[in-house]
Every structure is written in C-alpha cells, then in structure tokens.
C-alpha cells in the first residue's frame, strides 16, 4: 500500500495515532483504516472543502498585532486526534478533582486563609500575586465557587504520561472552536461518524447555561444572562458571539450595562432591564473602573458593588485569577492533599520556582534545558524555550529572573506527543496539547475531550493560535462497545 498514512514517519515522541511498529492503537484503528483507504488527492479535496467551509462559516480569530486585518481564518487540520475513553474517564476525574481543590483554595484565600495559617501555601507568594484582589476579601459567592469556567492545558510526555501544564481560570477561550471543529468534521467526513463510537461534544452550551443559571440571585424565574465582551477587536470575539447564540444569552458590551441601586441593568429599546448573571469575558483589570483600573472603557461602573451585595452573579468571579498563576500552579498537588485529602490524579509537570534560592540557582545553571515562563502571562507570550533559545536570549532571561524571581518558574522541556498532520502533500508528525474545559457551580462538568491545539511548524512546541498554532477535532472513542 502506498497511501499517505503508510508513509508516515514517526519522530522520537509518543504518537497519538500509531504505536510500536507504526501500528494503530486500539482506539485509532478505524481512523487508521479509513486514512489507509484514501489517496492524497481525495484527502486534499476534503481539506480544500474544509478550508472553504471555514471561510464561508466565518470561523475566525483575531491577532492583536495585525491592526486593520481584523480576523484570520481558523487554522484547522483535518486529521483528528483520538483518546481512548477508558483513559479519558481517568483524566476527567483528575480535572474535576483539580478544579474542586482550586475553588476551595480561592475561597479560602479570600476568607479564612487557613492554608496560609497551616503553612501549606507561603504568604510571600500571595503577597506578591498580581491577581489577588483585596477588594474581594470576605466575599462568599454561591456554592463557594469562584472559577466557574476553567480551561486546563494537558500535555503528554514521551512515555505517554499526561501532565497538567497550566490552569486557565481568568477568561479561558477556545471552546467554540472545539464545537466548530466537530461541526466541520461531521459536515465533511460523515462516513467516519457512522460507527457511533465517537462520543458527541455538543452539550457544552447547555451545560454552560445551567452553570450560569445556577448563579442567578432570583430563583424561580428564567434568568437574564449576558455575556460581557470587550468587543469586536478582542481575539475571542467570535467565541463570545457563538456562545451567546448557542445559549440564547444577550451579548453585551460595557456600554450596554448600567448599575443603579446596586443592581445591574441593560439598556433596551423600551427601558432598563434587570440582569441576573454576567458571564464576563473581560479581565478583572478592566471589569469595573470603580474598583479596578479607573481608566477602563470596557467595563461597567458599579458591577462589583452589585455582585458584593448579591444582586448579580458573575462568572468567573472577580479575583478568581489569583489561582491562574504559574507559581500557584506548582502548589496545586499540595492543595488537593490539603483540601480533599487525596493524591492528585493528574500530575503536574515538575516545576522550579525561582523565588526559592536553591531552585533559582538550578534554573539559572540549566537555562539551556528548561522552559522559563512568567507567572501571569497567557497566550504563550513572554516565555523562553531554553534548548531553542540563543545564548543572548538566555542571558536576557537570566537577567529577568534575577530582577523579579517571584514572577518566573521553569520546567523541563517536555517532548510533547505528536499526531499526523496534513502538511503540503504529506502526513507529518506535529506536536500538540489538549485544552479540556471544566464547569463548576452547583454541579461539575468536563467537556468530552477538548480543544486539541497543534504546532503547525516542524519541531515547534508552541501551540497557541496567537503564535501560529492550528487545531484538530478531538475524538473520545469508546472501544469497549465494539
């Protein structure tokens, strides 16, 4: 046979599709066989059809640096990434455990602070945290939950172990692309879905609605839920529209809302209408000029006041970002033990915190082997991949670390797993990660799979779409029923 999948050459990584001797894994066998039945021109025709569909469906994201070019077509690779359901069940349990502990931690920090008193979490880290909001001290949100929507990045190492790379619990994005990727695949490869072993993903909007509705202060009436967007120039604007559409929520900008008598209202053609829940997609800093940055044009004056009085639900709660910090991350396994009395199901990537002298010295003397990350950046900005960096770049980071040790942590370079990706006329291995989304309010829920992001450049480990990454449809495949 001479199809593309038979010419696929593995790298020295864990591959998600094929294992030893280029043989498919149990869960990937049907896809492997399907790919084996396609020649290049057939596959390429499907790819072109997908690209045309992305263009007309207007699935886009925005790149900050390209002013004037407001959106780019969503980069999508047509070869799906597959995870066996048996493995997924364990990952799902690990994600639920993790977010439960994180929410207990945030609630503790803003109230009793027992974890500090018991010496499990160092006071210095909290003191120097950029996202700890003293304005939120003493507040008890419903269910004790602060981070209602969390996107946790998972990676798989060479030996097949799945690690947590980071937890995004400020305003994580990407879930709409997960949903659209599946729509695209079903539109263009209907035949592979006929076996019924690929689990569906499309209940997310309903689950998100339920999660948000549970935060409404007014029981018994259908809540008015709004999605607060920074507007059309935000990189995730497409997603804000998409979720509003899917949930039947109102998509609002800051100027559409007004706070009167400590209640939040939206401006409608027939007057003011009471708002019950705000799903905000604006960072804390810009949320409310009365409490945070006074120059914010995006937020709503008085929003935090209304929330504190219990007149509106906000997801994620202001201040939840305190746990979205790569130094705090290193303490999550300890938190799980502290709050839940359990061992972490999903391990962290080993991490070195530059705030500790011995760990900093290790980092500085091993810069050529480590990935260095700033504590509070997202989107892959401001990090250094040691083995790929130039000596002068490493020198620059050494300076940054010495001048602000609390803001840096380092991890060994994980050789991310790969999956076949269609590049030019060949299937080639490309590195990828996975971002599942976890919801928590009254109940806790994990997406079936998540968004697989793939580094489209050869050898690259950077998967962020803002840095030229692409994505794949993610299949959780049930092998037991077959």
């Amino acid at each position: 046979m001479d199809t593309l999948i038979h010419q696929y050459v593995l790298q020295n990584t864990y591959d998600e599709l094929v294992g030893e001797g280029n043989q498919p894994r149990p869960a990937t066998r049907p896809l492997f066989d399907f790919l084996a039945s396609l020649d290049f021109s057939t596959l390429d025709a499907r790819r072109q059809a997908v690209e045309a569909a992305i263009l007309t469906m207007g699935i886009t994201f925005t790149v900050y640096s390209e002013a004037g070019n407001i959106d780019r077509a969503w980069p999508f690779d047509i070869i799906p990434r597959i995870i066996d359901r048996a493995e997924w069940i364990r990952i799902e349990a690990g994600l639920k455990q993790r977010l439960t502990a994180l929410n207990l931690f945030i609630d503790d920090l803003y109230n009793e602070q027992n974890i500090l008193k018991d010496g499990v979490f160092p006071k210095e880290v909290l003191k120097s945290s950029a996202n700890f909001r003293t304005q939120c001290l003493g507040i008890k949100p419903r269910f004790g939950v602060w981070a209602h929507v969390c996107g946790t990045d998972l990676v798989r190492d060479q030996d097949g172990t799945v690690y947590v790379l980071e937890d995004n619990l400020r305003v994580p994005s990407g879930v709409s692309y997960m949903l659209e990727n599946r729509q695209l695949m079903k539109r263009l490869f209907p035949e592979v879905f006929q076996s019924g072993t690929i689990l569906p993903v499309d209940d997310y909007p309903t689950q998100l609605y339920d999660t948000l509705a549970a935060l409404s202060p007014r029981a018994g009436v259908r809540p008015v839920i709004v999605i607060l967007t920074p507007g059309i120039y935000n990189s995730a604007y497409f997603e804000h529209c998409y979720l509003a559409q899917q949930m039947g929520a109102f998509l609002v900008e800051g100027s559409d809302l007004v706070v009167e008598n400590d209640c939040v209202y939206m401006k409608t053609i027939s007057g003011l209408r009471l708002v019950d829940v705000v799903y905000r997609r604006i960072d804390d800093d810009f949320l409310d000029p009365e409490v945070f940055r006074p120059d914010s044009m995006l937020g709503v004056r008085g929003l935090v006041r209304a929330w504190r009085k219990g007149n509106v639900g906000i997801a994620n709660a202001p201040g939840a970002g305190v746990a979205d910090d790569k130094v705090v991350y290193a303490f999550v396994p300890k938190m799980i033990r502290y709050y839940l009395g359990e061992d972490a199901i999903l391990p962290n990537v080993p991490s070195y915190l530059c705030m500790y002298d011995d760990q900093r010295e290790y980092v500085l003397s091993h810069l050529d082997q480590l990935v260095v990350k700033p504590a509070n950046e997202s989107g892959g900005y401001g990090m250094m991949i040691g083995p790929r960096a130039s000596p002068s770049e490493r020198e620059r980071f050494a300076g940054l670390i010495r001048s602000n040790p609390r803001n840096y942590m380092a991890q060994p370079t994980i050789s991310l797993s790969t999956a076949p990706t269609l590049v030019g006329k060949r299937l080639v291995p490309r590195h990828l990660d996975l971002r599942p989304f976890i919801l928590q309010s009254e109940k806790i829920y994990v997406t079936t799979g998540g968004l697989t992001r793939v580094a489209m450049r050869e050898g690259s480990l950077v998967v962020n779409s803002s840095q030229g990454g692409g994505s794949k449809d993610t299949w959780i495949v049930d092998t037991e029923g077959t």
Binding site: T56, M57, I232, Q245, F250, D256, K267, T268, I269, G271
Partner: protein
C-alpha cells in the same frame, strides 16, 4: 432588545439595501446608455449629485466621467455609500449580531463580502463584466432577504431590519425618480418621447418593476405615470408609499412610537401631493428633496427614541 443591537440591525439592513439599490441604479443607467439616440447625452454626474455624493466625489476625482464615477460608486473605500463600503459595513454590523440573526445569515453576508472583495475590480473592465458583478450583488442580497423572510420570527429584531430596509428603499426611490427627471431631452418630440419612454422602462426593469407596472398601469411608459407608480403605488413593494406603510407597520409593534409614527404619517400625506406632470423639473426636484428631508427626520426620531434613549451627552 438592547438599544445597541437594535441600532446595528437597523444599519446593517440599510447598508445592504443601499448596496442593492446602488447596484440596480448603475445597471439601469448602463442599459439606458446603450439605447440613447445620437444627440442625447446622459451626464453621469447627475447620478452622484442626486445621491448627494458630488462634494465627496470631487475630493477624489477631477473628471466626472463614466469610469471615475462608476469606480467611485462601486469600489471607492472612501465613499461610505459605495457598494463595496456598504457591504463591508453590513458585514461588520452583522458580525456583532450573530446571536440574533439566523446562523446562515452571517455565512451569506460573509460570502457576499468575499465575492465583492474578489470581483469589484473587474467592474472596471467594461460594461458587461460590471453588469454581471452588480447583478450578482443583487442576487445574493435577494437570498439574504429571503433568509430573513423565511427564517426569522416576527420579533423586535425583525422590525428593526424591516425599518432600516424600508427607510433606505423609500429614500433611494425618490432619488431614482429624480435621476430620470434630470435627464435633458432634446426639443424634438419625435426623439424625446421614445427616449424618455426607454429611460423609464430601464428604471422599471432595474428594480424588477416593469412587469408589475405593465399589469397595473399599461404598456406605454410615460414619465408622469411611471413617476407616480414609483412614488405612490400602494401595492408594489419598492414604492415610497408602500415603504412608508411598512415603516408604519413596524413602528406600531414597537413601544413608545408616537413621534416617529407622527412623522411617518405626515410624510405619507406629503407624498400624495406630488407635483407630477409639471413641465418644470425643478419643482419635482425640490419636492423630492423635501420628501428626503422628511425621511431623514423619521430616521432621527427613531434613533433618538430607540438607540440613544440612555445615552448621556451627544449622539455619535
């Protein structure tokens, strides 16, 4: 319904209607040109004057010839009323309305945008290509209207779409009638009468009204009857009169409609007093200007009532 959303629906609809009407107007004039007898000159500059774009045009071009004017009306990004600009603005507005409009609406507006981006420059390569491209704009716009008609609940969002469309259409119709009245015809009635007839026939055809006109009024197309039909016919859905009726219907469903409703009704009354059949075209021109001002006042009243009710300070 959020005030901001209402405003964007309204403008999106106006922009699409303007793109469609401008495309039809250019096509109708192009058709007329082919049939004009020697000695009758159509000045393309009439078109920009009547669309109220002459000052802007002169900032960008020195010569008011066919090429420059057509380029200005189809492609010029600096002309907010050009076909390309209108479609771009309609797309920008509908991007923010994706949670309100039928899902396919965005896909098709986006498709229209991509089409005009790729093809607009082809309009320079001669009249037949231009005709083809503008017809495509009209056709794709039709499919958008069809989508709204068949897949949208008759809710508040729908009313604002309809309001925008009908205000724009009513206004453009007065301008279309104005264009035809401004063409200088030769003294000799043997040439003048059939020329005028062709002129109006082309206009009726461009707005897909010719058949309806023939059934309603007659085979011959005389200026007075045609103008009367386009302004006052109560049944054909593009006439100014019909559009005012639609506006009234929309307002009736909206809350607190007293002021815009009153203005709509007084415009309606003025419309019935059209000085048609006057020898002096200046009278008709001034009268049509007055109707356009009335329509502007309705627009202002709608903006104040529904879009800026809670705005402090000046309106944008």
């Amino acid at each position: 319904m959020l005030s901001r959303v209402a405003e964007r629906l309204y403008w999106m609809s106006r922009y699409l209607e303007r793109a469609d009407n401008t495309a039809r107007l250019i096509n109708s004039i192009t058709q007329v040109l082919l049939d004009l007898p020697l000695g009758v000159k159509f000045g393309w500059d009439i078109l920009i004057k009547i669309l109220g774009l002459d000052d802007l045009f002169l900032q960008h071009h020195s010569k008011a010839n066919e090429n420059n004017i057509v380029h200005f009306l189809i492609q010029e990004e600096k002309n907010p009323g050009s076909v390309v600009s209108c479609i771009r603005l309609a797309r920008e507005n509908s991007r923010t309305l994706r949670e309100i409009l039928p899902t396919e609406f965005w896909e098709r507006v986006n498709g229209l945008y991509l089409y005009i981006q790729r093809n607009a420059s082809g309009a320079r390569h001669g009249r037949s290509q231009r005709y083809e491209i503008l017809s495509q704009v009209v056709e794709r716009r039709q499919s958008l209207v069809g989508l709204v008609t068949n897949s949208m609940s008759r809710d508040i969002a729908y009313q604002f779409i309809k309001l925008g469309q009908n205000l724009e259409r009513a206004d453009m119709m007065t301008r279309t009638v104005d264009v035809n009245s401004e063409v200088l015809l030769p003294e000799d009635p043997i040439i003048a009468v059939p020329t005028q007839e062709r002129l109006w026939m082309a206009t009726l055809t461009a707005i897909s009204a010719y058949q309806m006109y023939r059934r309603q009024v007659g085979v011959h197309v005389y200026g007075k009857e045609a103008a009367h039909f386009l302004l006052n016919d109560p049944h054909f859905p593009r006439t100014t009169s019909y559009c005012l009726g639609e506006i009234e219907g929309c307002l009736a469903v909206l809350p607190d409609h007293e002021i815009p409703m009153k203005l709509t009704r007084s415009t309606y009354r003025r419309l019935e007093l059209a000085p048609l059949g006057e020898k002096n075209s200046v009278t008709l021109h001034e009268y049509l200007d007055q109707i356009q001002e009335d329509l502007g006042a309705i627009h202002e009243a709608i903006s104040r009532q529904y879009f800026y009710l809670y705005q402090t300070g000046t309106t944008p």
